[in-house]
């Protein structure tokens, strides 16, 4: 009996032959845009999750900024302070003994040697006023009246730090016996350790923020799973694979995470620019000392180039966290279904 014969007795208007509707195995897999079979627009709210991800992205931007700033300081102190040397010349006005131009003072002989040395970038003998200012904390105002035999002090910047220090000290002592060469090595090491500790703290903060972001997406996904449990069970019975269901959640979580990541990065930008403005004096010193390293900024901007590159990557990182966390969470949850 043809189905159309049944149709005549049905109130349902049976098609020519509904049982013979052809389903070609073509796999175009077109889906209407916005088709939300699991009802995730309600189950995974576009309010709380993006807000929390935005907060995490904001904190991540600040932590990464702190990481770069600490790295810059460490480099600045290492390269700048390590290159600074203080030379003390006792009895500076006395005529230097030995070779050289006759009648040259000990200070003049030492200065000449320093300025002639290719390892020395700059040698500046402190003036009486500068020396007075340096000693004021210990000797009070007008230390000259105390008639103390003060040595001359020369501030030296080395072009090649530390390597030439011993040789330089030896040649200066030969020219003017009693000359002392002091590097700032101890302070450099202490400051470097401090900067590296700050850098490690910022890195740990970045990791914690990432972990919290993962937890936030996982909790949001669990809430979404609970809210759309019935829809999931229905599509599961209709033959939906774990891939199908997990992909729906991952797509939604990714969209929300990108939204949050972008908002967080945008919110962090003015804060970072303000902080960078406050730290500008250090930054200028850094740039002067470090040249065009990775922490150097774009001309006219206060932020390091790496941070400018990292800010647009925040939404992408948030997307990756959203996608992977949702995939893992949903697949783990689906194991409870047969």
């Amino acid at each position: 009996m043809a189905i159309n014969a049944v149709a005549s007795t049905h109130r349902f208007p049976i098609p020519r032959n509904p049982m013979l509707i052809r389903h070609p195995m073509g796999r175009s897999r077109l889906r209407p845009p916005g088709f939300d079979d699991l009802g995730l627009e309600r189950a995974l709210s576009d309010r709380l999750l993006p807000f929390l991800v935005a907060a995490m992205a904001f904190l991540a931007a600040l932590a990464f900024g702190g990481f770069l700033a600490a790295a810059g300081l460490a480099r600045h102190w290492q390269q700048g302070a390590e290159a600074a040397v203080t030379v003390q010349v006792p009895d500076p006005s006395a005529v230097a003994a030995g070779g050289g131009v006759a009648g040259t003072t000990r200070l003049g002989r030492v200065l000449a040697l320093l300025r002639a040395d290719p390892a020395v970038a700059r040698a500046h003998a402190l003036t009486a006023a500068e020396l007075d200012a340096l000693l004021r904390p210990w000797l009070g105002r007008d230390s000259g009246r105390l008639a103390l035999p003060l040595p001359a002090v020369i501030a030296v910047s080395l072009a090649r730090p530390t390597a030439t220090l011993q040789r330089l000290g030896k040649s200066l002592r030969e020219a003017a016996p009693g000359t002392l060469v002091e590097s700032h090595g101890v302070w450099v090491r202490r400051l470097t350790v401090l900067a590296q500790s700050l850098q490690a703290s910022a890195a740990i903060a970045l990791l914690v923020v990432t972990a919290v972001a993962i937890a936030v997406v996982a909790v949001g996904t669990h809430a979404g799973l609970a809210a759309s449990r019935e829809a999931i069970e229905i599509v599961h019975v209709l033959g939906a694979t774990d891939d199908y269901i997990a992909a729906r959640f991952a797509a939604r979580a990714t969209r929300l995470a990108v939204l949050g990541g972008g908002a967080g990065a945008l919110a962090a930008l003015p804060v970072l620019l303000t902080l960078a403005g406050l730290a500008a004096p250090f930054g200028r010193l850094d740039t002067a000392a470090a040249g065009s390293g990775p922490a150097a900024g774009f001309p006219g901007t206060a932020l390091p180039t790496l941070l400018w590159l990292a800010l647009p990557l925040l939404p992408l990182g948030a997307a990756a966290i959203g996608y992977l966390t949702a995939q893992v969470t949903v697949r783990h949850w689906l194991r409870r279904l047969p």
Binding site: V6, P13, P15, L30, V237, G239, P338
Partner: protein, 222 residues
């Protein structure tokens, strides 16, 4: 084809040491294209038996085979493909409330990855067939109980399943609609689909002669 061999089913009972058994030592076979009534009072285990057949649960005892696949030993990953060959009409319809009638019926085809062009044509024709041509975009909440049931029936048969399971499919239909639906199910069976219909309406079953599986307290009785 469906084969039960000494199948038992127990659900974990919260607060109790032993699980609550709902099916005991159930054995029967429905051949390909066969039609069976599944009769029994409320609580006899009809819905649990259907849940086993549409692979929503696995048996805790015995051996179950559906469409030539041994469900007791099949890998989980294989079952999704098998489910796409099974159509189910749920007693409570289980339509997705946020989707239109059209999208509810289209859902199994989209899950199966069919092309949208084919889906549009097939679903429109199927909804016209069940008398809902004017309600393609209506959400389920705006449809009457009978209309929702017809959407559920359309969703169950749109993929031309090899096994069709229906749990009280006439519960919300008037007598005339119920008769027409039964004739349709029998026609599907004649075209090769294995059909199992659970009902407590013995009068309906007796009017449409077909072998019956009768459940009492989780056991098949003659």
């Amino acid at each position: 084809m469906v084969r039960f061999e000494h199948v038992g089913l127990s659900y974990p009972a919260p607060g109790r040491r032993s699980a609550a058994a709902v099916l005991h030592d159930v054995s029967f076979r429905v051949p390909e294209g066969g039609f069976r009534w599944l009769l029994g009072t409320s609580g006899a285990g009809k819905t649990s038996l259907l849940r086993l057949m549409y692979l929503a649960i696995r048996p805790t005892e015995g051996r179950l085979s559906v469409l030539e696949t041994d469900i007791t030993s099949a890998r989980r990953g294989m079952l999704a493909n098998l489910r796409r060959r099974i159509g189910v009409v749920f007693q409570d319809f289980r339509l997705l409330p946020h989707l239109s009638a059209f999208d509810n019926v289209a859902l199994p085809l989209r899950i199966a990855g069919r092309s949208e062009g084919q889906i549009r044509a097939d679903v429109a024709e199927m909804l016209r067939w069940v008398g809902l041509a004017g309600k393609l975009e209506s959400p389920p909440e705006t449809l009457s109980g009978g209309e929702q049931q017809r959407v559920a029936i359309a969703r169950a048969v749109i993929t031309r399943p090899r096994l069709l399971l229906a749990d009280e499919p006439t519960g919300n239909l008037d007598e005339a609609q119920a008769e027409r639906l039964m004739r349709l199910l029998q026609e599907l069976s004649r075209l090769g689909t294995t059909v199992v219909v659970a009902t407590h309406n013995e009068a309906l079953a007796s009017r449409h002669g077909a072998p019956a599986l009768r459940l009492e307290h989780g056991r098949l009785v003659p």
